[in-house]
């Protein structure tokens, strides 16, 4: 079976500053990979580079997604190909309803695949089911996208989008940050219910807490732009107990 995602020697900079200094990672369909690391290690940058964030320039290396050159694609083409990034800081778009945005997004991806667009009524039916996954009622759909949403609501909205778009590769960028335990459970349930043998997930997180709910197959630790250690789920527990310092040499004043 060919890999879903193959990252080789990936280097990326923001302006003059190099942040990713040679990342190698292979993700197979069906797998969940956790990418952990201290603040400023480059883990969120990796997530954003994979989605095509314009603030970063890839200076070396390759990324192949389902056999194709991912770096050659515009952000929207990556989404159409099946890559989804759940944002750490979802953007507020006042003036556009959540329902409109989701349908526009869903239809843009369908259109890219030569499929017929869904009309508003059919889309509402689809939405009804997806809303259940994140334990929401439809009231949220008539509100402007993320506008005035609490931190937890924004993250839940990201998972709702993911549930609607059903990506082959979901990348969660610190989706757990700022969530209380109930919101964390809802977000994790949403992610877990979308797991399938032909889909993969990369969970970028600072804390092991989320990994109690979304069980990873592999855990990678990034420090200073490189993966310094990889292992199984037990690595996350070890990090929880010992902090990052023993791996990175960086003192971590991580709040508990």
């Amino acid at each position: 079976m060919s890999a879903m995602l193959e990252i080789a020697g990936l280097r990326a900079s923001a302006g003059e500053k190099e942040i990713l200094k040679g990342i190698d990672l292979v993700v197979q369909p069906g797998e969940v990979h956790a990418v952990m690391g201290p603040n400023g290690s480059g883990k969120s940058t990796l997530a954003q580079v994979l989605a095509g964030h314009p603030a970063y320039t890839v200076t070396a290396g390759t990324v192949r997604f389902q056999g194709a050159d991912l770096l050659d694609l515009e952000p929207e083409e990556r989404a159409q190909a099946g890559v989804f990034l759940a944002f750490q800081y979802p953007v507020e778009i006042t003036g556009v309803t959540n329902a409109y945005f989701l349908r526009a997004s869903y239809n843009a991806i369908r259109k890219a695949h030569g499929q017929e667009e869904l009309d508003p009524m059919d889309f509402l039916d689809l939405l009804e089911q997806k809303l259940k996954l994140v334990e929401w009622d439809s009231g949220i759909m008539s509100r402007a996208v993320n506008s005035g949403f609490s931190g937890g609501e924004k993250k839940r909205n990201e998972i709702l989008q993911m549930a609607v778009l059903e990506p082959a590769l979901a990348i969660l960028d610190e989706t757990d940050s700022g969530l209380d335990i109930d919101a964390l459970r809802i977000v994790a349930n949403g992610v877990n219910s979308l797991r399938r043998p032909d889909r993969a997930t990369i969970v970028v997180t600072h804390y092991q807490r989320l990994l109690d709910y979304i069980i990873p197959d592999y855990v990678h630790v990034i420090a200073d732009g490189r993966i310094v250690k990889s292992g199984g789920r037990e690595l996350a527990l070890e990090l929880e107990a010992k902090g990052y310092e023993w791996l990175t040499g960086i003192a971590e004043g991580a709040p508990a």
Binding site: R78, A79, T94, V96, S105, A108
Partner: protein, 428 residues
């Protein structure tokens, strides 16, 4: 000063200056005299500093005449608001067209008559106070428009639409229209005032609208200016509000090579609420100017103003928002916001808030911004599969929709929303 206009006025006044008593002609002569003395405003005039009207001055205008082939009802469909049975008063090249209008269905207590009829009876309706260079020109020539009176306590459920159309044959012709809307004590009413071009004529519309809002009355007034992008449009709206009244205005300006709208609201008594929303869309080489003045004459009044602009191409927008608070207007609460979105390098904006406050116990704020679409928002939409060009349209629409969302009448809001979407090239 335009020779053609002078000759046109001479002909017009020799023929009696429209139907009516001598007093009407006397007023018209006075108005013309004032216009002739001052002429077109120049860039030395502070009120017109950023809005050169020399392009208008250069053209030899003649008063608009009825088109040889009048529009058929079907041609009006794109300009209608709401279902066909709603009351609409249609003017073609400045003259009332009963055949195209829908007069039946007016509730009891609402009277509507063409200005020409009203002037014949009451020449004083040609009010020359608080004049502007163009309002006196209008008073010299204006023969038609709508005079609407909503009697005390009457509720008008559906908006009344005043639709001013200019035909393709109206090149080098000027349309001078004047309307008067009176909403008496405790009445509720909605009005839509539209200016549209059928075709692409370089016509010149000079419109004056006076709105009188009685004590405790509630009025929503939407003004849609969607004339041809070759046309010239100058508009003045004067509003006077009595105690406990609520007036909300929505102004959409998207047509015209040069388009200027002055909106002056006088809060003439206590506990008045005034909401002024505006949206202007410029592209190509359009020049769109909005000047607003809010007169806080009396205590305990609230004004809330939000004007937003979307400028593309080499278009140029001017916004000037004056708020005048008299010494006795204590407890005034006034907030003014002007936000501009530039879609191109060639577009520009001159924005100027002007607060003149002579009372000490007030809350008055203003803010103006000029910016571009946010790259983070672009990326967010693109990361959801939406193309950059579709994301641009959607984000621009979102920016504009924040103002249209404030229109209370749902059918009017939807009609304006469609107009904005259409202008932006559609949404997916």
């Amino acid at each position: 000063m335009s020779k053609a206009l002078a000759e046109a006025f001479e002909r017009f006044s020799r023929n009696g200056g429209g139907e009516g008593p001598t007093e009407l002609l006397t007023r018209r002569r006075e108005a013309w005299g004032r216009f002739a003395a001052a002429g077109f405003p120049s860039s030395r005039d502070e009120e017109w500093r950023f809005t050169p009207v020399s392009a208008i001055e250069k053209i030899s205008w003649t008063p608009a005449i009825e088109p040889v082939s009048p529009p058929v009802p079907r041609e009006l469909d794109p300009y209608r608001v709401g279902p066909p049975d709603w009351v609409s008063l249609v003017f073609v090249n400045g003259r009332y067209d009963a055949g195209l209008s829908q007069e039946s269905g007016l509730p009891a207590g609402v009277s509507v008559e063409p200005l020409a009829t009203a002037l014949a009876r009451q020449p004083a309706l040609l009010d020359l106070t608080e004049a502007t260079p163009f309002s006196v020109l209008n008073a010299a020539f204006a023969r038609d428009g709508a005079v609407i009176r909503v009697a005390a306590g009457v509720e008008v459920v559906h908006p009344i639409h005043l639709l001013f159309l200019t035909t393709a044959s109206a090149a080098a012709q000027t349309v001078q229209v004047r309307s008067l809307i009176v909403v008496e004590q405790g009445a509720r009413a909605q009005f839509v005032e539209s200016y549209a071009g059928l075709g692409d004529a370089a016509s010149f519309t000079n419109a004056v609208t006076d709105v009188s809002v009685g004590a405790g009355a509630w009025v929503e007034h939407s003004r849609i200016q969607r004339e041809s992008e070759s046309a010239y449009h100058i508009g003045l709206t004067r509003v006077e509000q009595q105690r406990d009244s609520h007036y909300r205005s929505f102004t959409l300006a998207m047509g015209g090579a040069i388009a200027r709208h002055d909106l002056r609201a006088r809060l003439a008594d206590e506990n008045v609420e005034t909401l002024l929303y505006g949206l202007y869309l410029g592209r190509g080489e359009q020049l769109v100017d909005n000047h607003t003045v809010i007169y806080h004459d009396r205590p305990n009044c609230r004004s809330w103003e939000v004007y937003k602009g979307v400028l593309d191409g080499k278009s140029h927008a001017v916004f000037n928002g004056k708020v005048l608070v008299t010494p006795e207007a204590q407890k005034t609460d006034a907030k003014q916001t002007n936000r501009n979105l530039l879609l191109s390098d060639g577009a520009k904006v001159d924005t100027k808030p002007q607060l003149e406050i002579f009372a000490d116990d007030v809350r008055c704020t203003h803010g103006a911004t000029v910016g571009r679409l946010d790259e983070t928002a672009f990326f967010y939409l693109q990361s959801r599969g939406i193309s950059r060009s579709a994301a641009k349209r959607l984000l621009t629409y979102a920016f504009a929709a924040e103002v249209t969302a404030e229109i209370a009448s749902v059918p009017v809001r939807e009609a304006l929303d469609r107009l904005v979407v259409e202008r932006l090239g559609g949404l997916e």
